[in-house]
Symmetry: C2
Amino acid sequence: VEVIDMNKSAPAAVESKPDFGYLLAERTSNMGASIIRETLKVASRPGIISLGGGLPAPESFPLEIIGELTSRALKKYKSLVLQYGPTEGFPPLREALVDLLAGRGIDVSADDIIISTGSQGALLEIGKILISKGDKVAVEAPTYMGALAAFNPYEPRYLSIETDDDGVIPESLDRLLSGHRVKFIYLVPTFQNPSGRTVPDSRRREIAEIVIRHQALIIEDDPYSALRYRGKPVPPIKIYAPDNVVYLSTFSKILSPGMRLGFCVAPPLIKKWMVLAKQGIDLHTSSLDQAIASEYITGGYLERHLPTIVDVYRPRLERMLAAIESSFPDGFESSHPEGGMFVWAAGPDGFDAERLYWKAIDRGVAFIPGKYFYTEKGMGNETMRLNFTMSDPETLERGIAILAAVIKDEMN
Amino acid sequence: VEVIDMNKSAPAAVESKPDFGYLLAERTSNMGASIIRETLKVASRPGIISLGGGLPAPESFPLEIIGELTSRALKKYKSLVLQYGPTEGFPPLREALVDLLAGRGIDVSADDIIISTGSQGALLEIGKILISKGDKVAVEAPTYMGALAAFNPYEPRYLSIETDDDGVIPESLDRLLSGHRVKFIYLVPTFQNPSGRTVPDSRRREIAEIVIRHQALIIEDDPYSALRYRGKPVPPIKIYAPDNVVYLSTFSKILSPGMRLGFCVAPPLIKKWMVLAKQGIDLHTSSLDQAIASEYITGGYLERHLPTIVDVYRPRLERMLAAIESSFPDGFESSHPEGGMFVWAAGPDGFDAERLYWKAIDRGVAFIPGKYFYTEKGMGNETMRLNFTMSDPETLERGIAILAAVIKDEMN
């Protein structure tokens, strides 16, 4: 049986034992190990400066208050934190999110909000209820591959929307929707993973007008907007096309990624089916974790802690951008994000970022070749994703200096 | 758009707004609201004695130690409890489960164990990697419907295995496997939901021999075996056919259902693909909850707390069985479980337990008509599932007395 052996702990099947490869479903072959995860394994060698990962910095976590939040949750909700709960989510958390969402310009009631097991859980629900085999799904080029892992088992076809420094190009989206019936459009409009780009307000209004005109549905994935280090907030597309947008966000970057807590505001019919889909997926998201997140918001902890997270990341982003500016050779360009976790860099046409990757690893620096974030082969060969959340500013500066030296070697 | 309106909070779509019903995937219509959940809504009216639900008693939860477990986990694992973790599970929890599983006769290493988001998460992974549309899956008659909710979106065909008071009848399984290629056999062999029945040891050996001979795969779902109130433990089928059984269990009945923690031991190839499937489902299960569960085992808390759970439930089961024995009319039979959460009762042929349900509700007692636990229409009309975990012994006695009176009315 041909399988990608990504799981080192699984011993090879012994000949005399049944290995059940013949039982695998047709869709299963679409679930190959993530190349990005494989790349990150190399990048996690000791001594490597990793600009490759996508993890929040542990020092950004409100670790010292978790015990306190747990005590508050236990005292307030007692056995409810351990009992089965409603599929829609823990009611006090849904209530607490009303204010948080209002702060982002999204005015809804608690009933309109559903909780998911990470944003990944919501993406899975969406894939499950909407995608039949062969259906078309429009994504940015480049796009977030984790979302595609949620959609892939349902076997969609991806169509790429062109992007520039301001993210999705509205004309490209309009053309695509004129030529194709798509099930939905998946976008990360703010501090995108992988590009770090943010779609400006004017372009969001254009995108909203286009999807309303085409009666199309956007999945607006917004994990990063709270991580803004400079500049002014941009409202979500959701507020310009409330009936046409499923808005997703997460606690992964403002509390803890390990707790697997996401939240979602969707048009009524989509929401109803997402809840039904979730019943078969995990019944509901951890009651204890939801109760802790609820206390995190209502007790004012999030409001007090968020500046700490921003203070951890702001100097890292600034130092990385300054280092790129001063050391990358002519012909290289990078995004200039005002928040999030990633910077995107692109070499001149014909530059091979994957070849660069192996040379950089030998010199002790890792990143992710950008081509892995494209659904179409042959795109993005010259690009790379650089993460700035997992190292201190000095290490980031050293990493970029080494990378610049390897790039110059490679270009000579 | 025809949808089952199970979600009261979702307003009806207004005509002028897009409702996106036309975007739903073909599989979505297989995800109707659970009839059991609908039934339970009626059963949750104030004043109703509910023998209908399937929830653990809140007084069985180790609520007073959750704060302590959280402190221990934070002290020991620090930021790891909040960070992204491995898809296979939190390593200390996988280690801790080695002993727990050995106590059930399953000798494995930590590498062989994977953590899921509830047993439901593991069932979903199994459905996702194994079931193609139209594939055959063998289930008990009656069977646990929650598992079917995980499998249904992949559109299998179900084949029923006959059962008697000792659960699955081996000859029926053998006949079924001789006549059909099935993807897998889904069984709950111990204190089954809904029947409360347990397959005896001798029959487990026969079942193991049969699946080995047919090179078939069993999904052995074991949420209840720790809840034994009398009699001797029976080993899992897994130990008699280790290469042919995926063994699933959960913390839902020994710690907390709300924390959504399951664990699984599977043959290597199945395990490998379950992990890949889980990457697209939820990346991993809550790190914090896994760390708490790990401390629950390694700190000796589970061992000390389990007798408390057993002491809560034992008198409830005894009182319910005694009440049934003394008050149900001739022609009625019930299972005599030694553990778990459910008793199964069956009236004479032709008895209509659904009609009884509505009359019993009027008199203030709820249960679940057994026919909802069958995959084939027309089966189990005379049966009912009676839960004994959610009321104290006196209330259970009163509930059974009322039910017996309604049954006698109905039979006259």
